[in-house]
Symmetry: C2
Subunit: 307 residues, 2 copies
Amino acid sequence: MNVSLRQLRVFQAVLEHGGFSRAGAALGLTQPAVSRAVRELEQALELRLFDRTTREVVATAAGLRLQGKLTRVLDELEDALQAARLEGAQAHGVVHVASSPTLSASLMPLLLARCRQHYPQLRLVLHDQVQRLNIEAVQNGLVDFGLVVEPDAATPLESEPLLEDDFWLVCRRDHALAGQAAAHWTQLSGQPLVLLDHSSGSRRLIDGLLEQHGVDCEVAQQLGHSQSVFRMVAAGQGVSISPGLAMPLPAGSDLRVLPLLPAARRRIVLIKRPHRSLSPLAQRVWRLALEMRRELAQAARPDAWGA
Amino acid sequence: MNVSLRQLRVFQAVLEHGGFSRAGAALGLTQPAVSRAVRELEQALELRLFDRTTREVVATAAGLRLQGKLTRVLDELEDALQAARLEGAQAHGVVHVASSPTLSASLMPLLLARCRQHYPQLRLVLHDQVQRLNIEAVQNGLVDFGLVVEPDAATPLESEPLLEDDFWLVCRRDHALAGQAAAHWTQLSGQPLVLLDHSSGSRRLIDGLLEQHGVDCEVAQQLGHSQSVFRMVAAGQGVSISPGLAMPLPAGSDLRVLPLLPAARRRIVLIKRPHRSLSPLAQRVWRLALEMRRELAQAARPDAWGA
DNA sequence: TAAAAATACTCCATAGGTATTTTAT
DNA sequence: ATAAAATACCTATGGAGTATTTTTA
């Protein structure tokens, strides 16, 4: 059964226009091309479809019967393909993005705003939850993609770096280190620390950095949210190490932020299921985020906005 | 929209078999061919249909949606084409044949019997009517084809000779000419004739022959049916000129049949609309009639069956 | 490391075009 | 005589094959 869509479309055009030359003109083909297509179709079906003289082309009974069924089916086929094609082009629908709390507060508002500008028809649903749940949501396909702290390399995910976010020292203005332009990691030894707990993706990195620099100190408090951490520091419970994106500090709190040396940072990445393509719509949002890289990086610079 | 059926079938096969190699095997294609077909389809739709690793091929959401619509539509298309194809091959249905009275009585029974043998599923409807109506029925497409005395060459019809049917002289056994082995046309001069009327296709020919041979005689009687003619001859109303196919003579009638010299004959032909194809079924009957030529010719030889 | 898809290339079949012939009105 | 389809022939594109490379579990 070697019938092609091309042949069927030619067949229809001949019926519609009542002639091979006219049908050809309508299709952008020459008369011999039409002639051949019809002949091939007739041979494939072992059935004469047209009775043709040089003056007129008349469909046979069989041709008319075929035409009846064909128009409907071919129209449906066109619709199905058109629907598929539009799916790739259309700009409305829903995209689900998982994002860690700090990022939901700092980066996502920027992305959402931009998204609204570019794709007003697109609804972006934010899944604001902790690192582990974000990763699971991505892996299970519950969300289109995630915006998280770079996970362990062993995690089966595909990730795309978005920006780097430095760690800063946060302390009270009356703290011993507050006067310095910058603080060295070793200077943290002996200082009571107030940190985010392990539900945060950064905590793992901070633990690693402290160990790496041989810092010997105790975690006096650990909390789920950065703002709580800052309050604790303001209340004199110790100093904190915080990524830039977790700022700004609570208004009116008497805290200082200083660079840590040597500089250390976490990577913020977009993640998605490995070897799974994003929906066309999700792709747009993903790309939009990447295009915003420079702009987003600004949000991670407390020194730039003078805190 | 340059999508081919081929590509869609490949797409379906990949979904069904869950792999390019397997799909290829099922379709009788190689893996690279499948790979290419899928890629082409994806490019045509500007849409990713499969997420593929070397270990597994998974349809994307868009792919699955397309699949849903496609299976139904493609099945319908196959059905439509299959129905068309079968139409050319199937052996049941109705064929309408117009036939002149003499032929309905002589040739058609033979054709009908043979038809029943070869195509028991086929119903052959006989339209037994006079020449003019037969021709009109064919021209108007009321019947598939006709079996008639060869009409005037100017008649817009396509005809195929089937057999030739000699004219014979029919007279009473006690008639002056009855003793001869054959009769010459000129010997008919002065004889009262009993002939078929002009509703018969042969009458025109007989008139022509009489004039051609300069026969000077009167038509004593003209009738619509051959059997009536023979009765008239038996009743002594005159002699008759009759084609072989109009025989046999009525049983028990004391008539003789002798050849006319020089031999004259009418041609029995199959006729159909010019430049119109026969339905596949009608074609079979038409061809069957042509295959029976020799056999049918026997029915036109009263000498052979010794009347 | 093995199994499967992607890629590179080569070849042939098919589709389309131009030029010409045939045919019906 | 004209208009349209059929035919012949040529070219270019595309589809399929083999061989090879890449990739992931």
